[in-house]
Structure formats: C-alpha cells, structure tokens
C-alpha cells in the first residue's frame, strides 16, 4: 500500500509504542504526572492533526518529540499570558515525587538528589540533557526536535552536565529531603 497524501495516516502500533517515552519525557518537562499525560494527550492529538507533516519512513518517535516540544512551548507561552506570575517550570524538589518508586527508602537520597538537581537546571539545558542521556538520541535528532543548531545542542549539553556536576558535588542544604 502506498500512502497517498490525502488519507495520510500515522502507523498506529508505532504511535502507541512511543507513548511510554513521551510520558517519561513529559513527566520531567512538567514535573507532574497528570500534567505530563495532558501534554502527551495534546501531543497525540496534534500529531494526528499534523500527520501530513510526518514523512513515512522517517523516525516517528523523533517527530513526536518534535511535536511535543512545540506543544509544550506553546502551552507555556499561553499559560504565561494568562497567569504571568505562576511558573510552570518543574518544581525541582517536587519532581521526584512523581516518579514511581518505593515510599519507604529515604536512605537512597543520592539518586533523588540527581533528579532534584537536574530540576534546577534551566529548562533548555534540562531538555538537551534528557534527550541525550535518557532518551539516548543522536545529537542531530536533538537539534531537529528542539529546532536549534547542533552547536547549540552541544553547548547546552556541556553546560548542563558541568552544572549538574557542581550541584551534586555541593548539595544545597535545602534540598535534602528528609521525611
């Protein structure tokens, strides 16, 4: 079957297969499980809307991340217009609360610490770090997803990692979560 332009469709199984990764990335972008799923839902709706922009045969996952990035940026912009003083940035200390982990192991502070500290990175650095380190995307793909030159990807990534390294090396007193 050759897809015609008019009834272009997205491959449904691949779309479903991409959902867990979209959710994971969205969870960190928003720092909140419900808002993350809202973002994924909007992304899927937008993907169907814009399905003609996807070129069959190219990486659907990378394209979906691109769509999600754009949806997220647009939502942030419109939300900020409506509520100028409310930050939608992930709450660095709250983020770890949204991860599915055990409830009774306060002794494993270090991993929590890495995630919490990552939450303190500027959003653009955090995105690049996540796409490279967690999604393990090629730098060229990241450049496409974020619509920035590859040099920008590299410099953001360097800054993100160095900053994270410093943050972890000298943990701030306020972030150690003691229950």
């Amino acid at each position: 079957m050759s897809p015609s332009v008019t009834d272009a469709a997205l491959p449904h199984p691949e779309l479903v297969a991409a959902i867990p990764r979209l959710r994971r990335y969205a969870r960190v972008l928003t720092g909140d499980a419900t808002r993350a799923d809202d973002l994924v839902q909007d992304t899927l709706a937008r993907a169907w809307e814009k399905r003609r922009l996807w070129q069959a045969g190219t990486d659907l996952r990378a394209w979906l991340f691109t769509v999600m990035h754009n949806v997220h940026v647009n939502q942030l912009a419109s939300f900020r217009r409506e509520a100028a003083n409310v930050s939608l940035d992930a709450d660095p200390t709250g983020m770890a609360w949204q991860l599915p982990v055990r409830g009774n192991q306060v002794d494993r502070v270090e991993l929590l610490e890495v995630v919490a500290q990552m939450g303190r990175l500027p959003a653009d650095q955090r995105e690049v770090l996540l796409l490279a380190a967690v999604e393990e995307m090629r730098y060229e793909e990241i450049a496409t997803v974020l619509a920035v030159p590859i040099g920008t990807v590299m410099s953001r990534l360097s800054r993100a990692r160095e900053k994270l390294r410093r943050l972890i090396a000298e943990p701030s007193s306020g972030l150690r979560i003691v229950k």
Binding site: P100, R102, G103, R108, V114, M118, A133, Y139, K179
Partner: protein, 276 residues
C-alpha cells in the same frame, strides 16, 4: 593513529564520548587521552554516572500502564473531531487525579550495589532451579494459564498469604504465560512465567523471606539488586518488605537487569497506588 594530547579533548568530545556518539576512531583517540589524564577520565566517568542515575530514576515510568485516554488519543481520530486539542486541565481535577507516589529511590548506584556474580544464596539458587525446570517444559510450564490470570493471582495470593501481582511486561515484549506454585523455603513460592515472540522465557518468583539475605554493607537498604548465575540461568533478586523477588532467565546480565528494573518499578507503583 597517535593519541591526542589531553588539552585537545574538547567539552564536545567529552560529552559525545560519554554518550557514545563519537566516531570509532575519534572515540579511540579520546579514550587514549583519558587514560593519561585522570581528571579528564573522572569527568567522563561522572557524565556517564549522571546519565545512568537519570535513567534509573526515570525508567520505571516506561513500565507504567498506559492510561486509557492516551490510547484513545493515539487511535486515528474520527473525521470531524480531528485535532480537537484538549483544554488545559482544570487544576483541581489535576490535583485530585495526581497519583501521590512515594519518595525514596531504590535504584541508586545499582551497579555498585549489585553483588558480583558470586556464591548464590539459597533463594537465588532455588529460583534458578525452578526456572530451569519449568521454563524448559514446552507444554506445561505453568499450572494456571494466563487466560485465567485473575484466578491465578487470587489463588497465589491466598497460598502465599500476601498480595501478589503479575507485572505487565508486554512493554518489553514478554507476555504472561501463566503461573504456578513452587516449594521453596518453609513458605511456598509463586512463579509467574513470561514468554517473548522468540519463545524465550523468563520467570518472576516471589516468596516470603524469613532469614534476610545479607544486604550490601555500604547502604544497608533492603532493595539491593543482586545477581547470580546458576547453571547458565541468570538471576536478579532482591528483598523488600520481607518478601524475596527473583527474575530468572537465560539472558545476559544487562537484559535481565532491564527486566528487573521494570518489574521493580511496576511492583512499586502498584504498591504506591494502594493495590497492595
């Protein structure tokens, strides 16, 4: 090709090296430079450790069941309603629906905590034996088939005396085959068998644990992942809340660990949402 002088290794090189995105030749040159510059090597190692920690923290999200509304959104839209982008969720609704999941992360430093494949404890050994025995049984690997998953879970829960769950490993390509009861220590062991498209099988075994498997000293927590190999069967096992869990299969360690992560994450999520 001669090695690079350390000062010519750029930040970009170092990151690309950590992410394994350098061309092989360049990677070899960077590696040689790192070998001569401990400080540079430490930075590269730390970058990789950061990535590993982030993945450890975030991977369990992948194993969560996909909410119905997202599956619905992934389906081709009926004509006419295409692309009706949902309004920003009402905050109150969002707050009410937010799952409050616990803090405390069991994944940190898994590699440091995983015991080197040494002497398996009795639990790991019996898990490996039970796996080898039943996984090899093509026709009757289980007593109760997955078609009756509900009664299987109810039965095993009753026999073990605490709530057991069969994690959903479809996301990893493993479907539940079914389960059975296995004689273990003084308590019975529940065994869930899974199979992928290539007919490779893995099993999850759960039992009450009396004598504690000694935990890895440095951290002292219960949920240290441990690894053992017994007669070619790899076992990742851990103790949590007086229950022992073991994932067994004839896979390599990395594959098995990935599966163990997902299982752990799901069980934790199920517990956190109060299904336990």
């Amino acid at each position: 090709m001669s090695a690079l002088p350390p000062h010519s290794v750029s930040d970009s090189d170092l990151n690309a090296f950590a992410d394994r995105q350098l061309a092989p030749e360049r990677a070899a040159a960077v590696e040689a430079a790192l070998a001569r510059d401990p400080e540079l090597a430490a930075r590269a190692a730390e970058f990789r450790a950061q990535s590993a920690s982030l993945r450890d923290a975030l991977d369990p999200v992948l194993a969560e069941p996909i909410p119905e509304r997202l599956l619905a959104a992934a389906a081709p839209p009926a004509s006419g309603e295409a692309g009706a982008v949902r309004r920003w969720a009402m905050p109150a609704l969002a707050a009410a629906a937010t799952l409050v999941l616990g803090v405390g992360l069991g994944w940190y430093g898994r590699d440091a905590m995983i015991e080197r494949a040494g002497t398996p404890t009795t639990f790991a050994r019996s898990a490996a034996f039970a796996h080898a025995l039943y996984a090899a049984d093509v026709r009757r690997p289980v007593e109760v088939w997955a078609a009756e998953e509900k009664s299987l879970v109810t039965w095993l829960t009753k026999r073990l005396g605490f709530k057991v769950q069969a994690p959903d490993l479809n996301g990893l390509g493993y479907a539940l085959v079914g389960g059975r009861l296995v004689a273990g220590n003084e308590f019975p062991t529940a065994l869930f068998m899974y199979e992928n498209a290539d007919k490779e099988r893995l099993s999850l075994q759960v039992r009450k644990q009396t004598a504690r498997v000694p935990t890895v000293g440095a951290r002292g927590g219960d949920t240290a992942f441990r690894y053992a190999i017994e007669n070619g069967v790899g076992v990742f096992y851990w103790i949590d809340d007086d229950c022992g869990y073991a994932i067994s299969g004839t896979f390599d360690r990395a594959q098995l660990l990935k599966i163990a992560h997902v299982v752990y994450g799901q069980l934790a999520a199920l517990e956190a949402t109060g299904t336990k």
